[in-house]
């Protein structure tokens, strides 16, 4: 290092607190750099190209993290420490608060377990409060649908598994646990309005649960059987547009389900892949292989060519479909394998692509497919990317 010769010796002089000021002659004619006061940053105004990266942290799963980045500058903006077993966070409709389901043990990996939804002020990335929830939060390989939020932001839902399935409901206004709703035989959380959420059932149906204004169970309904969990199961990686959830099967069948009413109404399935493509081994795949852009009504899906059982494999191609016209619009060739994608919500959308095994996030123009930037990690085991 070039400065070694000069700086190696410790000067016998300290100006801590400015109580002592050196009168050593300036070497240059310019005034000396002013003394600085260290401070803590707060975040500037929200940009549509900010994104969150949940880091599962494979080398230290009990010490997970959520990173915030600005895709335009490529800079990291801040981080949250979010306890054991990261899935995803929920965010307030105005992105002013981050709701993070977290798990802690009194001795790190042992002792008393405490699960929380922790409330972070997004502007300061500091804790505003926490709701202690039942210590049954589902964990494992991260899934987006392990939690959800009511459309109005009033309630956050957290998936439990013991292995019995239930959902912890948290009131975001009172920052308190509201109720636990059993969803026997049905897993994951797909919000369906301001006071309801759905869960996927092993018999090929969708259960829809309505809660009251206190977060307690009000009533339930169940869709007709709309997929065959043996012949061609749908994955947990669904996307929502308006009042419709779009579930995607291993073989790339899209199953739309209308959730406007309490009883979910399945629509007509359509296919992302042709019969020829399926035979050639094309499959949808990845930890979070689907994303949607509301403005353009476009569905983004990662495709690989690894054949059967490739539903978790990453791919180097993102296909873009018009979801209303059920047709392929274009294909984006990625510069690196991706298993996880997200698309910003604005009119100049960015496509974020990453993979748990690659400590980097790749930023593309979602419209042209151009690769704009690579943001090197850490995060070292990026799981879900989330957009404000």
């Amino acid at each position: 290092m070039p400065l070694a010769a000069t700086a190696r010796r410790l000067m016998p002089l300290v100006c801590a607190l400015g109580l002592i000021v050196s009168t050593a002659p300036a070497v240059a004619d310019t005034p000396a750099l002013p003394n600085e006061q260290p401070r803590v940053e707060t975040l500037p105004e929200l940009s549509p190209h900010w994104f969150l990266v949940n880091d599962f942290n494979g080398p230290g799963t009990m010490d997970s993290k959520v990173y915030l980045f600005d895709a335009d500058s490529g800079r990291m903006l801040g981080m949250l420490s979010t306890g054991a077993w990261r899935n995803v966070v929920e965010t307030a409709p105005d992105f002013g608060t981050i709701y993070s389901p977290e798990t802690y043990y009194s001795r790190g990996t042992r002792g008393e377990r405490t699960d929380t939804v922790t409330f972070y002020d997004t502007r300061t990335l500091s804790v505003k409060g926490e709701a202690v929830i039942p210590p049954r939060r589902a964990s494992g390989l991260p899934h987006r649908a392990y939690s959800g939020r009511s459309d109005d932001g009033r309630f956050v839902y957290v998936s439990n598994m013991t292995p019995a399935n239930s959902v912890s409901v948290v009131n975001t206004e009172t920052m308190a646990f509201a109720s636990e709703v059993e969803t026997a035989g049905c897993a994951m959380i797909y919000p369906t309005g301001t006071r309801s959420f759905a869960a996927l059932c092993s018999d090929g149906t969708l259960q829809n649960v309505r809660i009251d204004d206190n977060g307690a169970l009000a009533e339930r309904s169940r869709s007709p059987r709309f997929f065959d969990p043996e012949a061609d199961p749908i994955t947990e990686k669904a996307i929502r547009l308006d009042n419709r959830w779009y579930f995607i099967s291993f073989a790339g069948q899209v199953h739309p389900v209308d959730v406007s009413a309490l009883a979910p109404v399945p629509g007509t399935p359509w296919s992302l892949l042709t019969k020829d493509e399926l035979e050639q081994g094309y499959r949808v795949g990845g930890l979070g292989f689907a994303a949607v852009h509301e403005g353009t009504r476009e569905l983004f899906v990662i495709v690989n060519q690894d054949g059967p059982d490739a539903h978790k494999n990453p791919g180097k191609e993102v296909r873009v479909y018009n979801i209303d016209e059920t047709r392929l619009v274009r294909t984006i060739k990625l510069v690196a394998d991706a298993g996880i994608i997200a698309v910003s919500r604005d009119a100049s959308p960015r496509l974020y692509a990453t993979n748990m095994g690659i400590p980097a996030v790749f930023v593309y123009d979602a419209t042209t497919g151009a690769h704009l930037r690579t943001i090197e990690g850490p995060p070292i085991t990026p799981t879900f990317v989330q957009v404000p």
């Binding site: 494979g58 080398p59 230290g60 799963t61 009990m62 054991a84 077993w85 798990t103 043990y105 790190g108 990996t109 042992r110 002792g111 377990r113 049954r136 589902a138 964990s139 494992g140 390989l141 899934h143 598994m161 013991t162 292995p163 019995a164 399935n165 059993e182 026997a184 035989g185 049905c186 897993a187 994951m188 869960a199 996927l200 059932c201 092993s202 018999d203 969990p229 043996e230 199961p233 749908i234 994955t235 947990e236 059982d309 490739a310 539903h311 978790k312 494999n313």
Partner: protein, 173 residues
């Protein structure tokens, strides 16, 4: 609910009825999972203790991801963490519930039912990551899902590594 699920559910209900410390299982309903085997036979093959016959019948290296039993695993191989394919490393706890796969043994041409119990109570071993998804199903079919942290019913849900335990012979299907 298919036949497989019915079997698992029925079995588990029997255990739940017999085992008070597993009372949580009684609540599991449709979403029930596979169950760790109770003592049946001594373990035939431990790492480094195999006989030539064993190797012929149970070929491959349990510390490698391509070992036949790992056809539906997703996790760290206990064989690389102080355990074997069927034994947890010292100081960990076997998950009493788990997921089930069916893998083809090239040594004898049979398909075997494999129980992928997790070893729990310590943080990730982080060695020999292995992800194979043959027959893996989504989480709403938990008995077949390797995404789930099966330490969910242990005293700690800290996940350390995964086993691949032979618990039966499947049909040649």
């Amino acid at each position: 609910m298919n036949w497989f699920d019915q079997q698992v559910t029925r079995l588990t209900r029997q255990i739940a009825a017999r085992t008070s410390r597993r009372s949580f299982l009684a609540r599991a309903g449709l979403g029930l999972a596979g169950v760790a085997a109770a003592p049946l036979l001594p373990v035939a093959r431990a790492y480094g203790a195999s006989t030539p016959l064993d190797v012929a019948q149970d070929p491959g290296d349990p510390s490698q991801c391509d070992y036949w039993r790992y056809c539906a695993i997703d996790g760290f191989l206990c064989s690389c963490c102080g355990g074997t394919a069927s034994s947890c490393p010292p100081g960990t706890e076997i998950s009493p519930v788990t997921w089930i796969g069916t893998c083809h043994n090239p040594g004898d041409g049979r398909d075997y039912i494999i129980s992928y119990n997790d070893c729990c109570g310590k943080s990730s071993c982080n060695r020999c990551t292995c992800n194979r998804n043959e027959g893996d199903r989504p989480i709403y079919q938990p008995a077949k899902s390797n995404d789930i942290n099966w330490c969910l019913a242990n005293t700690s849900n800290a996940y350390h590594c995964s086993l691949a335990v032979v618990i039966g012979v499947g049909s040649a299907g």
